[in-house]
């Protein structure tokens, strides 16, 4: 609405201007007083714009005509009008050229007008002074114009102009002269022009107001809508950026334009401190780059780097950025995330992974991971080595094809059972297939992989036991040789000595007889030792085949009693027995051996005239034998160890009592082989009680003497302490 927009003073006519002019005046929500004030303002601007060129133009024409008339009349006073002419022309051309069409044009126009008026007044005053005639009307008109203009009462102005014109006309009528006509014509033209302009201006003012009003409304609506939208969008953005877990930073160049709370938190400084600061205020990477530099270097891709904030904290940042426009300028939006914790976890996980991998790769045990279909999903190098294929080649193979020598799953395959039912199985001396045809002997444990109670697969850990089997074979051979090669000479020795010792071959001198006796006793001891060693070894190797049969407890106890009675008598030990008639399922020779060992042990450790008692009674579904002595007792810390092989409380006992240190180990082996237990309860004052408990129903159906391949996997696998000598028979 630049006031000088129609500086030509000729506003374009518009067909609907009347209607347009009325509407805003009759209704609308703009207050009437405010409207009038605004209207007047508009009119003043318009009129100033319109009148300036008009008055200037008229002034120019008027002075030119006046100069011409005076010059023709050969009057010398025309020169005085030159300044007036020049000033008017100057103002006119300035306006025409539009130089003054600017927000301040109306005020400038007024200034020019006043200048023109001043010049006209000067001219009139000069004329009056020199010629002293008629021109007073000019001054009068100009004064009226100025007054009208200043008060801005257009009707008064028009009225004054009309009066001026009439006075000119009257002056010419009364005193006709060329000068008079010119003056009258000028006044008339001036009046018509001004009237025309005034009406035009008024019309224009009304139209402008209408435009203004409509524009106002529209503008207001648009403005309000866009304002609301902007506000909503701002609110949304704020909410998102405030709630975001990621730090969001808006950069313009190096300068931080905005940062959200999460971002401020990462860098450890309040957001207001950072806004407006350079990116250096956030901190630097370890190699001294700012965040922006680091991003630029990475091509604004996702980048993870350690970053030291200005607060000194070292954080692992994940940053990425995107170029965007911000208030019409290039800007960079950076999102940052503190991944310190995540990275720490990742490092920890990587470390654990590495460790696990190392463990899996370094272990000598073959380890196979199987999925729910019992197919290999993992194999460590040892597994490959043992199975004779590269570990990678095992991937995806079915366990049956891979492991079972006939490439088919046997009906009770422990591995399948693990995968299907989640049962853990420890299997001894199984055979796994190899591509070379000869199956390889292994021990293995097949354990389920559980994911929230569900079986998702199995881990089979196995070990090549070829070497162990070979050692066992050699040992068996050795034992067999020893049993023969030692026993044969011992048989001769004992036979010969016993015959002499018993006096069957005639009288010998007492000292010789004593020596022969010592030799006989020690030979017997040597024989017992050899026999015990063989027994222990055979139990340990699982080569003792029990021959369970119904055994009467009383009968077997009596046999043991009878066997040990001579030893008890020899040691002045009272041997008592109180055993019930109970029939139980057991290998009677082995039970006898155990009871004999226990009695022998008790007798050896009994004091002179001490009592050894053998008690047998039912104890639930077990038969319970007790052998009580009145010996020195066994320290609590030895109560278990005495059942180990070659364990003697005091090595001198062996010599003194002729023990081998194997008797209790054999007793335990026998107990375990029957599915029973043996332990000792001891008291230093009252002696010891050895308690042998054997199940009435006999040993488990599985025979420990058979080849270990037929082991009950259940029994073996649940036995974490399978150190006892008999396979598959641990407690």
């Amino acid at each position: 609405m630049a006031p000088g927009a129609t500086g030509s003073g000729r506003p374009p006519r518009q067909p609907g201007r009347r209607r347009a002019a009325k509407a805003p005046l009759l209704g609308g929500d703009i207050g009437r007083a405010a409207y009038k004030r605004r209207f007047r303002q508009e009119c003043r601007t318009e009129m100033a714009t319109a009148l300036a060129p008009l008055s200037s133009g008229l002034a120019v024409i008027y002075t030119i005509l006046l100069v011409l008339v005076l010059a023709f009349a050969d009057r010398g006073d025309w020169v005085f009008l030159l300044p007036l002419t020049a000033g008017s022309a100057f103002a006119f051309f300035l306006l025409r050229l539009g130089v003054l069409e600017s927000p301040r044009a109306s005020r400038a126009t007024i200034a020019i007008l006043l200048l023109a008026i001043l010049l006209v007044l000067t001219g009139a005053a000069l004329q009056l002074t020199i010629t002293g005639n008629a021109t007073h009307t000019t001054a009068l008109g100009i004064v009226a114009l100025a007054a009208g203009f200043l008060v801005l009462n257009l009707f008064a102005l028009i009225l004054v102009e009309v009066l001026v014109a009439l006075s000119f006309a009257a002056a010419v009528w009364l005193n006709p002269s060329a000068e008079g006509w010119v003056q009258a014509g000028a006044a008339l033209a001036f009046t018509i022009g001004v009237s025309f302009v005034v009406f035009n201006v008024r019309m224009r003012g009304v139209r402008r107001m209408a435009e203004l009003r409509i524009g106002d409304e529209r503008h207001k609506t648009v403005l309000s809508r866009s304002f609301n939208e902007a506000q909503e969008s701002e609110r949304r953005f704020r909410m998102l950026s405030t709630a975001a877990f990621e730090g969001i930073i808006a950069l313009r160049g190096e300068t931080i334009r905005d940062i959200n709370p999460a971002g401020a938190e990462i860098f450890g400084r309040p957001a207001p401190e950072l806004v407006g600061a350079s990116t250096a205020a956030l901190g630097r990477t370890e190699d001294g780059r700012t965040l922006l530099d680091a991003l630029t270097a990475s091509g604004h891709q996702v980048e993870e780097f350690p970053f030291r904030t200005l607060t000194g904290a070292l954080v692992d940042l994940e940053a990425r950025s995107r170029k965007t426009r911000f208030h019409g300028e290039d800007a960079l939006v950076v999102t940052v995330r503190d991944v310190t914790e995540r990275r720490r976890h990742e490092m920890e996980r990587a470390r654990l992974n590495r460790q696990l991998t190392l463990i899996l790769e370094s272990t000598g045990e073959g380890i196979l991971g199987l999925d729910a279909d019992a197919r290999v999903t993992f194999a460590n190098p040892a597994a490959g080595d043992i199975l004779g294929r590269p570990a990678e080649a095992l991937d995806g193979m079915d366990h049956a094809t891979l492991l079972h020598p006939d490439h088919a799953c046997p009906p009770e395959c422990p591995i399948r059972d693990t995968v299907v039912k989640g049962q853990t199985h420890a299997v001894i001396a199984e055979r796994f297939a190899t591509p070379f045809g000869k199956p390889i002997p292994v021990d293995y444990v097949s354990a389920p992989m559980l994911d929230q109670q569900a079986v998702v697969g199995a881990v089979v850990a196995f070990r090549d036991i070829s070497e162990r089997l070979e050692v066992e074979r050699l040992k068996d051979q050795f034992v067999s040789v020893v049993s023969h090669e030692l026993k044969t000479p011992l048989t001769s020795m004992q036979g010969a000595l016993r015959l002499v010792d018993a006096g069957k071959l005639g009288e010998i001198p007492p000292q010789a007889a004593r020596m022969i006796h010592i030799a006989t006793e020690n030979t017997a001891r040597l024989i017992r030792l050899v026999q015990d060693i063989l027994d222990v070894e055979r139990f340990r190797a699982g080569r003792v085949m029990l021959e369970p049969e119904p055994v009467d407890a009383k009968a077997v106890a009596e046999r043991a009693y009878d066997t040990m009675k001579p030893l008890a008598d020899a040691r002045s030990v009272v041997l008592k027995k109180r055993v019930d008639h109970i029939t139980f399922q057991a290998d009677s020779d082995r039970v006898l051996q155990a009871l004999t060992n226990l009695l022998s042990n008790a007798i050896k450790f009994s004091p002179d005239k001490g009592t050894v008692q053998l008690v047998g009674q039912r104890d639930g579904d077990h038969i319970r034998f007790e052998v009580r002595d009145e010996g020195p007792g066994i320290p609590a810390d030895q109560a278990e160890r005495i059942f180990e092989r070659f364990h003697q409380l005091d090595s001198s006992h062996a010599r003194k009592f002729g023990g081998t240190g194997l008797g209790l180990a054999i007793c335990r082996a026998i107990a375990v082989a029957h599915g029973g237990t043996i332990h000792v309860e001891s008291n230093a004052r009252r002696g010891s009680t050895f308690i042998l408990r054997l199940p009435i129903d006999g040993p488990d159906a599985v025979d420990p003497g058979t080849e270990p391949t037929a082991q009950s996997p259940h029994r073996a696998c649940h036995d974490a302490q399978a150190k006892t000598p008999v396979h598959g028979r641990s407690t």
Binding site: S483, H484, T491, S492, Q494, A496, R498, L499, K504, R538
Partner: protein, 123 residues
């Protein structure tokens, strides 16, 4: 007086066993040092019982036992296997081969005669 034939490669064993049995006064004892000569002796003498060592070089106890069971002269001679082995099931094994039982080494020379009587059911 019953006749016992002892077949054992170990001379000392033969001697001790022979003496042990002779002292009892109930047995007349002859002996052989290997399976082959044992078979010959058995076929010739028809002893009441043979004590046959299980483990012998060349022809061992079971082989000798088998050979004797093949020959008409020795088919019915009772045989007790003399052994240092104590493996479970050994008695069943030798009975399966046609022996009457086991006599384990080391044996007690004072009770060997009783043991044989017992094994043979002669008491």
């Amino acid at each position: 007086m019953r006749h016992v034939l002892i077949i054992d490669d170990d001379e000392d064993i033969r001697e001790v066993a022979q003496l042990s049995l002779e002292i009892s006064g109930r047995f007349q004892v002859t002996s052989a040092a290997d399976g082959q000569s044992g078979i010959e002796a058995a076929a010739r003498d028809r002893p009441d019982v043979i004590l046959l060592d299980y483990m012998m070089p060349e022809m061992d106890g079971p082989a000798t036992l088998g050979a004797m069971r093949q020959r008409a002269e020795t088919r019915d001679v009772p045989i007790l296997i003399l052994t240092a082995r104590t493996a479970t099931g050994l008695e069943a094994e030798v009975r399966g081969l046609g022996a009457q039982g086991l006599v384990e080494k080391p044996f007690d020379p004072l009770t060997l005669a009783d043991l044989i009587d017992q094994r043979m059911g002669w008491t």
